[in-house]
Symmetry: C2
Subunit: 368 residues, 2 copies
Amino acid sequence: LAASGRHPDVCEDRIIDLAALASKDRLACQPSLFERDSLNAFMAAGPEVWKTVQTTLTELASDIEALPSFAASDVEVLLPICVADYVDFYSSKQHATNMGQILRPQDPPLPNNWSHLPIAYHGRAGTVVVSGTPIHRPWGQAKAPQKAMPSFGPTTHLDIELELGFVIGTPSKLGEPVPVESATEHVFGVALINDWSARDLQAWEYRPLGPMLSKSFATSMSAWVMPFDAIKDSYVLQPPQDPPVLSYLRQAPWALDIDLEIELNGNIISRTNARNLYWNISQQIAHLTVNGSCLRTGDLLATGTISGSELSSGGSLMELTSNGATPITLADGTERTFLCDGDRVSLRGSTPHSPSVSLGEVTGTISP
Amino acid sequence: LAASGRHPDVCEDRIIDLAALASKDRLACQPSLFERDSLNAFMAAGPEVWKTVQTTLTELASDIEALPSFAASDVEVLLPICVADYVDFYSSKQHATNMGQILRPQDPPLPNNWSHLPIAYHGRAGTVVVSGTPIHRPWGQAKAPQKAMPSFGPTTHLDIELELGFVIGTPSKLGEPVPVESATEHVFGVALINDWSARDLQAWEYRPLGPMLSKSFATSMSAWVMPFDAIKDSYVLQPPQDPPVLSYLRQAPWALDIDLEIELNGNIISRTNARNLYWNISQQIAHLTVNGSCLRTGDLLATGTISGSELSSGGSLMELTSNGATPITLADGTERTFLCDGDRVSLRGSTPHSPSVSLGEVTGTISP
């Protein structure tokens, strides 16, 4: 993970070497939890261990110069987790409404199941890549509405999806649903996710089994996972759920107040916030496991695109440009509907109140 | 995997201990490839090693009594592979047509993209279980057409899906599509798959992102993976593809002549054959990677339900009973539309010509 092969924690431009700290008996846990190329062993150790390490590190941070560390510029970051299953939800009502209007103009914008269950699909775990990994423009099939036959070539509608991703630490058992009240006990932390999407491929392939190649070429994840416990101060009230949800999804409503932004080639093209998401991670876990499915350490559960109610708060170019009808003008005078080769996208997130907690960023540049 | 924790190969009612053979330098490969709880290390070693081991074992089998082995009855079988990503295709034209007629009677039975690309979705890798694992009847949401609101409870439409699963041995690189001509070089072997499905949950949840909880509770896999090389004698001509496929999917057409059957509580309720599948694994791999997605060792690529053109050759109860309208009568006089608690299902496969190669079976019994 770091140049030394050890797992580091970040502090300004220095990265603390947790394996070195643990080997000196200063973290009250086994060094083997960090002498790995992913966080999975530490995540599997459970909430007590996470809390001990976090508390100890907070105390040690008062004398940060004395801790073993690397310069951030000397470190090659790797994917922070070994992804077990990758699940992508669809939990922004505004995004689902916008997509329905664009993709299925003849139907009601929200599918009739949408308000009753947190819709989701499985994405490709094997193509989740760390922030900074170049994104190859995918090829595939698309079909223009007026054409009889599909065409084949590089996507012309390459898009961003601004998301948060929740990482599962402690597993659950096959056949035993996780109750909504205790679901967050399984959550190790949260990261930023860019679920790159090829809209032309998606429109042609997604009926009846959902998106596949339009998403599977790459999903970018931030290199740092923020412990879930560290963002609990950002709890706010969840938007009301109407119609009322079934009892297995009912809970004290909460959402996360996290400011989010999309930067494209140095231009901030969207600002939004996660607090308006209709479904929260407790409900998503309760739903995902109510059929007896188990959670595994390393499961990545993403929110789906997070969009606000303004045009300027869309979480994708498809929404920000009304499916290409109203291009965005960048500071260099060029216009964008969808992404061009060479475009660099960064997603950032942070809690709005002092002391702000930053989720860092996830970046990616489009290769031809 | 075996009682000893070593990987065995089966021979009648004895299971050969490959780790013990390799440690005596009799397999021309490292014992560490088999001293594991899955086949993944051996699968990652590549076609040359697979071939060497297979050839050597075939020679040694002439004196099978002299080989280190276990009695099959002493062995607890484990899932033979550590599943990376699980992809389920939809490659039986008859099945896709039947499902379209039942689920979307107002639309043409085959979606307009179906003949142009091998449709697929990602399933849940974490709930692929070995043959013999009890299958808990899943709970979830369903909505009767005449009702305004969904209900919650155990599925009343628990179904079988008869499939083959191809296991990826050697990986491919991110950003580098696998050409259709060389795709089978990545395939280690083939297994039997039962992709259990809750049809009532599926009908309610699957729009617009595809099936999720209706499938994710469990997928059963046979305990033995047949090396792909061992079934090459069963190649037959693939059914004609019309309209012609795009060039990246074009190849010398082939299919696998494998007889398949479904047994329910001792009654054979369906007989079909894999030779009628419209898409083959070469085309599926070429399609899956044409967008730059990579393959990983342990990827499981299932065919989707395999149905023939007769009512008695359906690969699911939904087809065999016309969505519950025409129950099956079993030898004990009871009727079935969908599965009851306590029902035991076995899927079997073998090549029809002498010497027949058996894929063994995958079984599962429904728990309440």
